[in-house]
Subunit: 191 residues, 4 copies
């Protein structure tokens, strides 16, 4: 089974997710700068989520690039990942509108955690399908960065109830970790 | 006539359908967990519809993959299928917002029924175009699963007025039946 | 210059147009059938517009398929067509919400007229680029159906102020005329 | 690394941006022409933004066409450009709804300025990757038009507080400058 349509469909869904998020920034009625003030937390949330969805698109791009064929379970694992990503606009809007209150910040972290776990599941199925001695298997390997992210998300959700800014700092830190796309796969391909 | 653009357009429409459905989950104003409570039925409807649209995308993917060329009537049969799928976000939102009341649940089943019938029509036109002795014809065959689904949707719409939870259980059961993508086509291709 | 990305971008825009139109059908609050009554004209408008956008996609598909290369002015003529099509959701919503009042019906016809003229302009630029003795030039020829449509749209806009149902009947009639995709190009290709 | 998926994803995001902008034109409740009057500035903003997003798509198309391969930083520079473009619907809506008041007009210019700078950054990364003696490097060269645009955007933002119509005239003028797609690249390719 070929991967072209899986890539095209994922591109479509991620393109819509990343774009409709901006619809949560409702156009304010006044025309002075103070009318924009209530939108600042919404904007900050939007930037964070934009970077996260961008990271997923980049890594998805790299991982599928190193893949040759797919199968039925991989189709569903991919839809499962897209499901959690599709909830990002909702939690982004909720977190932004409530000025980073604890519960919305924790729920945001939960959606990031589930996205990370579903990405991990997809990567395992792809490696199982390609073989651990394949280019993909060698490149992804133990996926240390993925495991660290999961630990940090869980920490952020728990620490959120101590101080929510710790959670937000951790979300930004994980985004920073992933900002550089997966050099492992890039490096493998060059060899 | 080549199928590439038909696939690309269908991917685009299905990607938008599956993503704008989440917009029916309006961001609540409060920041405590109880603010999310009224959204629970909307979320449950969203999950069901996400799985259904995912199933259609998967099966569409498989069916078109086994197809070599298309013609004018097939283009329209495909648009007809996409029309019924485009109504899924509306009936999902109505069913969720009214906490699975009878009429919305029945209408939801009606849209699923029409989607199933239009998918069946598309598959017949494709088989007629490819030939019943083609890979596609041999793989889809009598389409027992498709026929069972239609019977179960009709049963669900009728039983909804006895007890709406029977209808919802049937919708989940049909989704479960289809969860595994069409192995028939996959199996044929491997030979 | 290659046409692949022009096709992909047009597919994307048309896929979003055809799908966001359904967002004009706001989910009603009540759960009884009477809650759906005010949506009937919105739904009827949606069906008409869905068929129109589907026709444009089909014909665009056929026309570009018969094209080999494109140039700068063709890119802009295509964006110009997509501009008028992007207004279809707005006029559909206005016509539906006002139960087919005269002015919205006339404006709907105006957007259809401008879409038809911009499609005509695009086809002329394509034929000029490909050559009148090309497959595309021979297939499209004098474009009798396109000219008849323009005359009927103008008639509908004027007759709308006599009786708006005449206009709506004409819109349905033109849609019916175009329902069958452009057999001319299909026929040419078979030779 | 191949550019196909970068193009497909950018097409998807730009297609959604250009189409959801029209959602800012809310369907009015009345059915007489005067109901459309408050929408006139929203429509004028929409046309301007449609042309701008169309220009970016056209130039992006040309620039990527002249590119052979990409790398990680280019993926992020492209996402950075799409980020600023994703804010266009918001500033378009704000400017339109406030009938071209000073602050919204200035913010609109700021988003155009950031889009231009991020496009410039993307073009520099592409040229660095392809080599200055590549087709792309020779074609884009010193990018005089890009530099003039940046100067004019800054001028528009400042002059906006003298007279906002100067700013709007400058926005239209820059759009006019770019209306013709980048002939430099087209011309180079023909050689």
């Amino acid at each position: 089974m070929q991967k072209a349509r899986l890539e095209a469909f994922s591109d479509g869904v991620i393109a819509v997710i990343i774009t409709i998020m901006v619809l949560e920034m409702k156009v304010p009625h006044g025309d002075d700068p103070s009318a924009l003030l209530p939108l600042v937390p919404v904007f900050v949330s939007y930037v964070l989520s934009y970077v996260y969805v961008g990271i997923y698109w980049n890594n998805h791009h790299h991982m599928l690039h190193a893949t040759r064929t797919i199968n039925g379970p991989i189709l569903w694992a991919n839809l499962h990942l897209l499901f959690w990503l599709s909830l990002v606009p909702f939690v982004t809007g909720w977190m932004g509108e409530n000025h980073f209150a604890e519960i919305p910040v924790a729920l945001y972290g939960f959606v990031l955690l589930m996205s990370a776990l579903s990405y991990y599941l997809l990567s395992r199925l792809l490696i199982k399908h390609e073989g651990t001695d394949s280019m993909l298997g060698a490149a992804v390997g133990g996926d240390v960065k993925g495991r660290i992210s999961v630990v940090l998300y869980v920490a952020a959700i728990l620490l959120c109830f101590v101080n929510r800014w710790i959670a937000i700092a951790l979300y930004y830190f994980v985004a920073f970790l992933w900002f550089i796309p997966d050099r492992r796969i890039e490096r493998m391909r060059e060899r």
